[in-house]
Amino acid sequence: MAIVEDTPRELTTGQPAVAERPLGVLTRPTSTEGWKSWLTTVDHKRIGILYGAAAIFFFVVGGIEALLIRLQLARPGATVLGADLYNQVFTMHGVTMIFLVAMPLGAAFANYLIPLQIGTRDVAFPRLNAFSFWCFLAGAIFINTSWFLGGAPDGGWFAYAPNTGVLFSPSNGMDFFAIGLQITGIASLLSAINLIVTVVNLRAPGMTWFRMPVFTWMMLVVQVLLLFAIPVITLALFLLMFDRLWGANFFNVEAGADPLLWEHLFWIFGHPEVYILILPAFGAVSEIIPVFSRKPIFGYKFMIFSGIAIGFMGWGVWAHHMFASGIGPISVAAFSVSTMFIAVPTGVKILNWMATMWGGRLRFTTPMLFAVGLVSMFTIGGLSGVTHSVAPADTQQTDTYYIVAHFHYVVFGGVILGLFGGMYFWWPKVFGYALDDRAGKWNFWLMLIGFNVTFGPMHLLGLQGMSRRIQTYSSGQGFDLWNMVATIGSFMIALSVLVFVGNILQSYRTRNRRPPVGPDPWDGRSLEWATASPTPVHNFDYVPVVESLDDFWHRKWGEDEDGNIVRLATAEQIAQTGERRDVHLPSPSYWPLVVAIGLPIIGYGLIFNYWLCMVGGAIVLGGVYAWIMEPTDDPDAAHGPDGHDDHHDGDGDGNGATTDESEAEELEAPVG
């Protein structure tokens, strides 16, 4: 929403404009091709792809960090990484994987698919969406530059105070952590608001709440979780930052502070966060399994409500990370019990997926393999989670490799497997060619086996008493064998990831030689399959009208008198062709990128020199106002050579408001 609207003006002097684009770089960008267009794009699909690419990049970064950890731990007393470096590496591994891999990967799917699944052209605030991405990337790069600027964060991903105060962590690493995560937090928060508005306001005609695909539902829950969880971590990080930079006392024990405050604040965020990570994968799997079982999802409403229940209950269990921290038996008992019962809605999901498969016609394509892999592997992680929730048992387990095993089974066996499945599943829709199935199967089996070889033994290690976050152990402790096994497993995972990367390259290279995928390669059910592949820029030629859950599928298939399923139409017949060319789309914009660049500059300023803050602040402020005042469209494009006038007031409906001239003041508040 432009506070001040600057509508393109006709020149009043009557003489023809001498220059069409007198502003040079300052006019609203128009190009939709070439690498530069990616910088200014506001298309939710491209932004989704950018998120995905960034996430995969950081997955390799975080994975290499993991491999370093595993190398160091392969043998007792190894010296691959010194203590200091080891601490930085595992901290950055955790931070990278959680904040720079799992979250943006979820965001990639959310961005790409939500508008498609609810049948609209874009998100509610396209420029804000672009900003979210650039802001995320800026924060991610910012955190990672700490490697070169005096050392990465070294306090563990949950950064318990006071170990993260300047006294005990004197390098700048934790400053990068605190500020960097605030920047990525802004991204998540704005993106959450954006997507919530999108789902509430922009569903296609007939797309009622209970006709929405499960995936969209889960994503909606995730956005609500983000909306409420991000401010909590932001607050905690602010307190830490004030302590570190300006000598506040929030975690200064000498002044009487209680370090448990940090633990509470972090985990109030932290636990909803783990559901923020897993629900996108749950959503993806809920789309994949019905398609490859050729059955509708079993218990649609239960799936939805259990997702909501998980999101809701996730707020009342955070102190299960603090069972040993001395919060008192009453709190421990309360949180122990509340934690256990989260298994109930999660179990509903697992069992419903199994019921969906039951009696189906299961086709084990690569996406299906990954999806079933999730159901199976996540259950293991979930069950070990339940054993943690038994607080007395957790006093033995906490901070051992048993916990490491638990959360890798849920984050890797859940999030990574689920979203890899998602990538194989939606790849044809996104890029117009499918990933090779044979290579995909190699990828899957290598990953599944490698993953179990890596993290399975960690259960044993943990029960045998191996603490986590230790840089080394001695040979007398009985940890030698399983650590070596785990290290071997981690390299199998690396190999599987290499197969995945190879598959992408190879499939891209041979994309023209293989049969075209068509709009609907898998006999899909939801609206994204009802348009061409790759999705045209405008998504839909005309806005689809929805009459039921799985509407697209029901247009392809009907029942004859005997109740047999018969084909009504082929996907090619009913899917939109994406050939329409006169759809008005929001124009690209420079400003999201500009504003996002300003933020890390402020961050560096806080750490190194306050004058830089002025520079960064000026960029942000100028960028925000330029953004607000940016004309709805490039004024000159209206007179462009192709003669087509998409000047949006031209069609006389007087509704000058397209969605993109939108977002504004939300921007300023989080900055403050």
């Binding site: 007939g206 409420f228 509470h264 008192g328 408001a657």
Partner: protein, 118 residues
């Protein structure tokens, strides 16, 4: 700037978003006067000589706070007359905040009933 197009397909149970001049300027002034009075009452609790609230002090302050909060939200922020959806997102945040942080400070040994003990 709302698009009122296609209202036929609007299936949500939201109230219609037509111009709602429920309150006149004078009405707003009256609301503000109410708020002013409550604020004055609040401030008077500070001067113990005026009224001694005893154990009821903190609860009384809280009640007045909640009333003021509610009045501003309902009237100045129009929530009373606006769509339910707005109420839901806002109140959800509010309730989450109250619930979570209350639980947190209780874990630190704060008991809500202690507010009655001056």
């Amino acid at each position: 700037m709302t698009t009122a197009s296609d209202s036929a397909t609007v299936e949500d149970t939201v109230e219609n978003d037509e111009e709602h001049e429920h309150i006149s300027d004078w009405g707003y002034v009256k609301v503000a006067l109410l708020l002013a009075v409550i604020t004055a009452l609040e401030v008077f609790t500070y001067f113990e000589s005026v009224v001694d609230w005893g154990k009821a002090l903190v609860p009384a302050l809280l009640v007045m706070m909640v009333i003021k909060f509610g009045v501003v939200v309902a009237y100045f922020m129009h929530l009373k007359f606006d769509s339910q959806v707005f109420t839901r997102v806002f109140v959800a945040g509010l309730l989450f905040a109250i619930g979570v942080y209350l639980a947190m400070i209780m874990a630190f040994g704060f008991h809500p009933w202690e507010i009655f003990q001056e």
